[in-house]
């Protein structure tokens, strides 16, 4: 190793530190300086953009910090950049359409920044304790964000999310306690070396896995998702879909890769199948756009889980899948946000006539739907292709067959959105007034460009993902 770890560590850790400082600044300073009120969003966005300056090409090495609690490597750099990107988009959407009442703006951006820091720690966590603490740091702010409006749907969402999330956390803690009693150390490397284990350890692992499966929204741990996505402010739903899920995915993936076979893989196999089948069938019956996207997010958790089975190729595929999925989901929630008139968001039928009144917005939405459905040449197809390619090469053909059949089912509900936008007339003659294009539209079109180009030109992103996957 020829590079000097100290400046690298300083620059890598400067990002989260700066974000923390900015988070406290937007929370506290406006309390004392009235003139700062209303600028919290801009300050947070600025902080995120400045942290991007601190990102520099990660050296090809893994550095362990805080006695192995945090592992910095190209992998964490990739995932952190992803987390920062999602946060920046979330702030941009919130600036365009404020989700929180004006007096709670400071808390709102504070909570979002804290959640992102939790996510980043979770992604780089080297042991189960750190991962759990990070999980709580990620979850608690998001519970609060879901209910920040204190309106009935928001509180309901927050309550459901919190109850089930707390249940999931409880299971994780219990599992960690069991494992802690059995193993000398809970960092992932020594856990991997210590396996195989006795039945009690298996129970511990299953508890931990169920806890993280809650966050990733694998069936049957998905019950909170539709209600939480529907009731939470749409910006927060986008954040949950893109960021919270990514954290769960990374952790599940670490747990999954501890096992080379045996009952845990078997259980993952079933979780994947049940998720893909159930989520896609349930999505067929949805009428609300946000609920549809919620079930779609569950289904995509299933496809990502298919990639777990693909070995090294699969890791690469997961890392490619996360940003591609996040772009389509944030974009689709952005469109929802632009069109929504009440908190539960528009029904699918409310999009009728959008193709005529706002053709570009409709075209962007269609791109998101086709990408989520996995139709080429959009990026979603490439993501699914990579995810499935690895699994087939590792011999899990039946899993892939089920997944592709279910993604054929998913075509129906994604197409329904395009049918309504382009081929139906609004029932009550209501039009979608084209407001002046603002930040929300900018986010939507940026995401649309992303899903259009990230597939056909997937080489750079795929190369980054491959480099990051090597450091897993």
């Amino acid at each position: 190793m020829t590079f000097d770890p100290v400046p690298y560590a300083a620059s890598a850790l400067a990002g989260p530190l700066l974000l923390t400082l900015a988070a406290f600044a937007v929370l506290l300073l406006p309390l004392f300086f009235k003139t700062l009120r209303g600028t919290q969003g801009l300050v947070s966005l600025g902080a995120v953009l400045v942290t991007l300056v601190f990102f520099r090409a990660a050296p090809p090495a893994q550095l362990a910090f805080f006695s192995g609690a945090l592992n910095l490597s190209p992998l964490s750099a990739y995932l952190w950049a992803f987390a920062m990107g999602v946060l920046a988009l979330f702030i941009a959407l919130s600036l365009a359409r404020p989700a929180a009442p004006a007096e709670h703006e400071g808390e709102y951006y504070f909570l979002a920044s804290m959640a992102t820091i939790g996510l980043m720690v979770m992604m780089a966590a080297g042991d189960l304790f750190t991962a759990f603490i990070a999980l709580e740091l990620l979850s608690l702010p998001v519970y609060a964000l879901a209910g920040i409006r204190r309106s009935k749907p928001g509180l309901e969402a927050a309550y459901k999310y919190f109850m089930l999330g707390a249940f999931g956390s409880g299971m994780t803690v219990l599992g960690i306690a069991v494992l802690n009693a059995l193993y000398p150390s809970l960092d992932f490397v020594s856990l991997k070396a210590a396996l195989p284990a006795q039945p009690l350890a298996l129970a511990g692992f299953l508890l931990v896995i169920s806890g993280f499966a809650f966050k990733t929204a694998l069936v049957p741990f998905h019950m909170w998702v539709p209600d939480a996505y529907e009731g939470a402010p749409t910006q927060v739903s986008a954040f949950m879909g893109a960021a919270v899920k990514a954290g769960g995915v990374v952790l599940l993936w670490r747990l999954f890769s501890l096992f080379d076979g045996g009952p845990v893989r078997e259980i993952f196999w079933w979780l994947t199948v049940v998720t893909a089948v159930f989520a896609n069938l349930a999505a067929l019956a949805q009428n609300g756009l946000k609920r549809l996207l919620a079930y779609s997010s569950i289904a995509h958790a299933g496809y990502i889980a298919v990639a777990f089975f693909g070995g090294t190729r699969g890791w690469e595929a997961v890392l490619y899948y996360l940003p591609v999925y996040a772009m389509a989901t944030i974009g689709a929630f952005g469109v929802t946000l632009i069109l929504e008139r009440d908190e539960k968001g528009p029904k699918i039928d409310d999009l009728a006539g959008l193709g005529r009144t706002r053709p570009w917005l409709a075209a962007a939405m269609a791109a998101f739907m086709f990408s989520l459905a996995g139709v080429p040449p959009l990026a979603g197809f490439f993501a699914k292709f990579y995810a499935f390619a690895g699994a087939v090469a590792s011999g899990y053909t039946s899993l892939v067959v089920i997944a592709v059949l279910m993604s054929a089912v998913s075509i129906y509900y994604y197409l329904r959105v395009t049918v309504v936008m382009y081929m139906k007339v609004p029932a009550n003659g209501e039009d979608h007034p084209a407001g002046a294009p603002g930040l929300a539209e900018a986010v939507v079109f940026l995401m649309a460009a992303g899903v259009l180009l990230a597939g056909l030109f997937s080489r750079p992103l795929l190369a980054l993902a491959a480099e990051a996957a090597r450091w897993f």
């Binding site: 040449p377 592709v404 075509i411 197409l415």
Partner: protein, 514 residues
């Protein structure tokens, strides 16, 4: 830059670029949009003519090859190349698209910019399917093409357009997702045997696969292609899609999209899995013959002209499948020629039905009659096209059908004899329709004032007529280019794959691998 210098690659990319470029024109300047779309599609046709002139008819290799690494970690290349079969298909596509554009000038009144963009994107997808020499690229174009077609049917179609568009998309997509899984499997098996990732179609031909694996893989590919052809009983999407699509959509659906299914058998399913293909061939040929009889009978009972033409496509494509599955030079080259013929004559029939529909807004046979008196030009064109469709000697349909029937008789005597019945049936219903529409008294007063073909309509019908006659009297230039490719196909279908090495064990099921 090579992507745009190679004429084949340019034929693929130019329509897509032109489709993007149309958005630079303001959406309400209709004349500019129409002119642009026509000019763009003619330019694509002009480029594709270079493929015809530069094509070496004697060579049996892929020509105009282009091979650019695209996604190297998976061994995916942007690889293109054509033989005689793909050459004819590409030219058929680039020939039909300008005619479809011209035929849409008056019919399409709403969102014209998006409409012509869809047509151009569709063209790029179709040419790409015929030009691809990489499985990934093939699949990409194969699926990507669904999006513009879906919008063409769903936005500019008839009254039941939403149902038809959804059915079209879901049917074809559901048929092809298993092909994706099969593609991944083939590539993974090749990787396991050869140690390298490749999606190159020629490299994957007759790979080391067990008989059981071939069986399932062929089944997955065959399903995707059978939906597209469409083979009986997978044809139910076709009447809906054809009837509800706007005229240009029907022309392209019948003229080109259906051919992609047969092309899939010729290029992929059979050469990739020859052993399984031999097992499946009699069944597929049999389904083709069932399609001939069934399609003809159903067409006979139709009152709507467009539906009748749609069902006649099922019958015609049955003939093509019979020829393609005979693995006999005459039959296969007849099938390829018949693909072109069907594109020309059915395309022309849809255009003619569109001509009537634009005037009277009905497609029911009984609403017409005696048109020969008011529309003599139309009646003459309709006559030639009808006769071409039923296979009158001297016109294009005869050559194709005769070659298929003679050739396949040696292989499947019973099936070929049954197919002859279909040919007779097609004469019955097509000529019956022609007689009811064109001859007889002018029963409906509205029909007395119908205008004959105008210049624009002559412009898009005349080129079709030229080729209908030309192929009928002088098929040699076309057959000559096809024959080497056909011989290749037959050789590939006969080859015995290398025995699978014992070490290569790819589990069919997750169970075994765990």
């Amino acid at each position: 830059m090579e992507l745009l210098i190679n004429p084949l690659s340019l034929t693929v990319l130019l329509p897509a670029i032109a489709g993007l470029g149309i958005f630079a024109i303001p959406r309400d300047s209709a004349a500019a949009l129409k002119g642009y779309a026509l000019a763009a599609s003619l330019a694509v046709f002009a480029v594709s003519l270079r493929l015809w002139t530069g094509f070496d008819a004697a060579a049996a290799v892929m020509q105009f090859g282009l091979d650019k690494p695209w996604l190297p970690s998976y061994g995916i290349h942007y690889a293109l190349g054509i033989d005689g079969i793909s050459l004819l298909m590409i030219l058929l596509t680039t020939f039909l698209v300008p005619l479809s554009v011209l035929a849409s000038f008056n019919y399409i009144k709403e969102s014209q910019r998006a409409y012509y963009a869809c047509l151009l994107f569709l063209e790029a997808g179709m040419v790409g399917v015929f030009a691809a020499l990489d499985l990934f690229v093939f699949y990409l174009f194969w699926e990507a093409m669904l999006i513009p077609m879906y919008f063409l049917i769903g936005i500019w179609g008839g009254p039941r357009r939403v149902y038809a568009a959804l059915k079209f998309f879901i049917y074809t997509m559901a048929g092809s997702v298993l092909m994706l899984a099969a593609i991944l499997w083939v590539v993974a098996a090749h990787h396991a045997a050869a140690g390298a990732w490749t999606f190159s179609i020629p490299a994957l031909y007759a790979g080391a696969l067990t008989e059981q694996a071939q069986f399932w893989l062929f089944a997955a590919f065959a399903l995707a292609f059978a939906v597209k052809v469409p083979l009986f009983p997978f044809h139910t999407w076709l009447p809906d899609a054809h009837v509800e699509a706007p005229t240009a959509g029907s022309v392209i659906l019948a003229g080109v999209l259906l051919k992609m299914g047969v092309y899939g058998y010729l290029r992929l399913a059979v050469p990739l899995f020859p052993q399984a293909a031999v097992t499946f061939a009699p069944w597929l040929a049999g389904l083709g013959v069932v399609g001939i009889i069934y399609g003809s009978l159903v067409a006979w009972s139709q009152r709507d002209m467009k539906k009748m033409v749609a069902y006649s496509s099922v019958a015609h494509l049955g003939t093509v499948m019979l020829g393609a599955m005979a693995f006999e030079p005459a039959a296969v080259s007849g099938a390829v020629l018949q693909m072109v013929n069907h594109g020309l004559s059915t395309g022309a029939l849809f255009l003619l039905v569109g001509v009537l529909y634009e005037r009277r807004h009905t497609r029911l046979i009984e609403d017409y009659g005696g048109l020969a008196k008011v529309m003599p030009g139309f009646a003459a064109v309709f006559m030639i096209v009808t006769l071409s469709s039923v296979g009158l000697p001297g016109l294009n349909g005869f050559i194709g059908e005769a070659l298929v029937l003679f050739g396949s008789f040696r292989v499947y005597p019973w099936l070929a004899s049954a197919a002859v019945a279909g040919v007779i049936l097609s004469a019955v219903y097509m000529l019956g329709m022609y007689q009811q529409v064109v001859f007889g008294p002018l029963r409906h007063t509205e029909n007395k004032i119908l205008k004959d073909l105008d210049l624009r309509e002559w412009l898009y019908l005349a080129p079709l007529l030229v080729f209908i006659v030309l192929i009928g009297v002088w098929p040699n230039p076309f057959l000559r280019r096809v024959l080497p490719a056909v011989d290749n196909y037959i050789t590939l279908s006969r080859q015995q794959p290398a025995p699978p090495p014992a070490l290569v064990k790819l589990a069919l099921d997750g169970e075994e691998a765990r």
